[in-house]
């Protein structure tokens, strides 16, 4: 690095073309990912806690079987993988709230980065952390002795991961709703309640009858059913699919509308 006489392009005009893809860049994505992986709080809630939950609540069920003979521990592991993924994607999406509160979004408006490219970066980061959360939960489960056929790993894992896209949208929705620095402290408990209604901590069937009916309309229910279907062999109910699609639309459209409101210049 030169400290004196820095040569500069005073003679040649800088390249003034617009960036490709609205400024979306893998390099920036890489820094964003590293940033997420450095956040101890995020790691604790998305990678460590769900794993510990499994060891505490899953392992004692060892030896018990579902109706189709598959291990109950696998049921719990998959449920907790859905939980881990939804917390992961929500926290990345919700980080938009922090960035708005800090004025980073305003700073970004002084760069060529288009808002859509920013959201794309956030979604990819969210889904990367979501994938990592699912993998970690499955690794913990396997290490603890859970054995199921490979196609169950794959299909359940995919369902848990892709389903968490709904919560990436939910995170963005909240992020654009409230510019608060500590938004996850508020959403965390909300996610836990939703997870409970979604049958991630206990099967929905053990809830009181009224709550079972309510549960079918809450946003985690559909993805929980879908993620466990490869394991249980139960058919996927129409209710579960409709649930997933409707909530994806609600949060996706909601986030898009708030995003547009946020980027409109007043």
């Amino acid at each position: 690095m030169t400290t004196s006489t820095p040569t500069r392009a005073a003679v040649t005009e800088p390249d003034r073309r617009l960036p490709a893809l609205g400024g979306f860049a893998p390099g920036a994505l890489g820094i964003e990912l590293r940033r997420v992986l450095r956040n101890r709080r995020t790691l604790a809630f998305t990678l460590i806690m769900p794993g510990v939950f499994f060891l505490i609540f899953g392992l004692p069920q060892g030896g018990q079987s579902l109706d189709n003979g598959r291990p109950v521990t696998a049921y719990i592991m998959i449920s907790l993988a859905v939980y881990a993924a939804m917390v992961a994607t929500t926290s990345v999406g919700g980080a938009v709230a922090t960035e708005r509160a800090l004025g980073w979004s305003r700073q970004l408006r002084l760069t060529p980065l288009r808002p859509a490219a920013y959201v794309a970066t956030k979604l990819i980061t969210a889904m990367s952390l979501g994938l990592l959360a699912v993998v970690v939960e499955f690794v913990v489960g396997t290490a603890a002795g859970v054995r199921v056929p490979a196609y169950v790993w794959l299909l359940s894992g995919l369902a848990a991961w892709l389903g968490s896209l709904v919560f990436a949208a939910f995170g963005l929705f909240i992020g654009y709703l409230a510019p608060a620095e500590n938004v996850m402290q508020i959403i965390g408990p909300v996610l836990a309640v939703l997870a409970m209604f979604g049958g991630l901590f206990v099967p929905v069937e053990v809830l009181p009858d009224v709550l079972q009916q309510v549960a079918k309309f809450t946003p985690v229910y559909g993805m929980g059913v879908l993620a466990r279907a490869p394991l249980t062999g139960d058919g996927v109910s129409m209710a579960a699919v409709v649930n997933l699609v409707v909530w994806a639309l609600v949060f996706g459209v909601g986030a898009a509308r708030l995003f547009r409101r946020d980027t409109a210049r007043v």
Partner: protein, 299 residues
């Protein structure tokens, strides 16, 4: 550069927030290469004007042209860059990461190492932003603004909250960077900054430009003296008509005459009127600033 467009053309800019008219029909033209200080007290409308200039907000009325185009286009092409007054940094990134991340958003930038060097923060590149001082964060914002090698650099009170040394270091960095042809517009409360770093000073008050000229011209506004005397029933119009008088103000029994020829005015007051207690004081830039930007004296 072959462009012959003005760097900035503001025409009749108006912006209100509820009952407050923050910017009130402001027009300004800045030529390429000018270094312009936007000087005014709190709430004068400097930040509101800069926000519209950068396309961060839309004027209620009036137009903005930056380097011949829209602000959005100038920003997207890296032709304009800015150091904002507030916020705008992620606390959990390091200084170096912030610069590299921002660089990725552009098609082409100066090397990260170079802008860190120019902003004088190479030594803290690995420090997390949340642990940087206000002055260091401000230099980081400056480094980010240097990335695209902009034709127009806009700074909104870049040294607010810095100590004397921090302010000096910051301006030295800006000075070092000054390249031929780069237009600089900065907002400030500090007269000494405007005086030391600008070729041209635009004084704003209540959303309007109250004075605009080269630093020398603005200083000339202040070069005269004030003659004060006790003169009950002073004839303000007659005094104002005297040669060399800039302004006359009557406050009760006192009369204040701003003039470039204090001797003649004092002589006139003492020989042609009943004035007594005549005092002559010289005005400085500070007085001119206060007179122009605070109360509606003599206007």
């Amino acid at each position: 550069m072959t462009s012959t467009h003005p760097a900035v053309e503001l025409d009749g800019l108006t912006k209100s927030f509820g009952a407050v008219t923050a910017v009130d029909g402001l027009s300004l033209r800045v030529q390429p290469g000018e270094v312009v200080a936007f000087l005014g007290p709190n709430g004068a409308g400097k930040t509101t004007t800069i926000d519209m200039l950068l396309g961060l907000s839309r004027p209620d009325r009036g137009t903005v042209r930056v380097l011949g185009g829209t602000p959005d286009d100038a920003v997207a092409r890296g032709r304009v860059a800015a150091v904002l007054q507030t916020g705008g940094l992620l606390k959990d990134l390091t200084v170096g990461e912030t610069v590299r991340m921002t660089a990725h958003f552009y098609r082409h930038t100066r090397p990260a190492a170079e802008v860190l060097e120019r902003a004088g923060i190479t030594d803290i590149a690995d420090r997390v932003v949340g642990r940087c001082s206000g002055g260091q964060q401000q230099r980081l914002r400056f480094a980010l603004a240097l990335l695209p090698d902009p034709d127009l650099m806009v700074l909104d009170e870049p040294t607010t909250g810095m100590d004397v040394e921090g302010r000096r270091d910051f301006w030295q960095a800006l000075r070092r960077d000054a390249r031929r042809g780069r237009t600089v517009i900065f907002a400030t409360h500090y007269l000494d900054e405007a005086d030391a770093y600008a070729d041209r000073i635009v004084l704003v008050r209540q959303g309007r430009i109250v004075a605009d000229g080269t630093t020398a011209e603005i200083k000339n506004l202040a070069a005269g003296r004030t003659v004060r005397a006790t003169l009950p029933g002073a004839d303000q119009a007659a005094l104002a008509a005297l040669p060399g008088v800039d302004a006359v103000e009557v406050r009760g029994d006192s009369v204040l005459v701003r003039t470039g020829d204090s001797d003649a005015i004092a002589r006139h007051l003492l020989t042609r009127t009943a004035a007594r207690d005549v005092e002559i004081t010289s005005r400085n830039l500070e007085d001119a600033f206060l007179a122009l930007t605070t109360a509606q004296t003599g206007a």
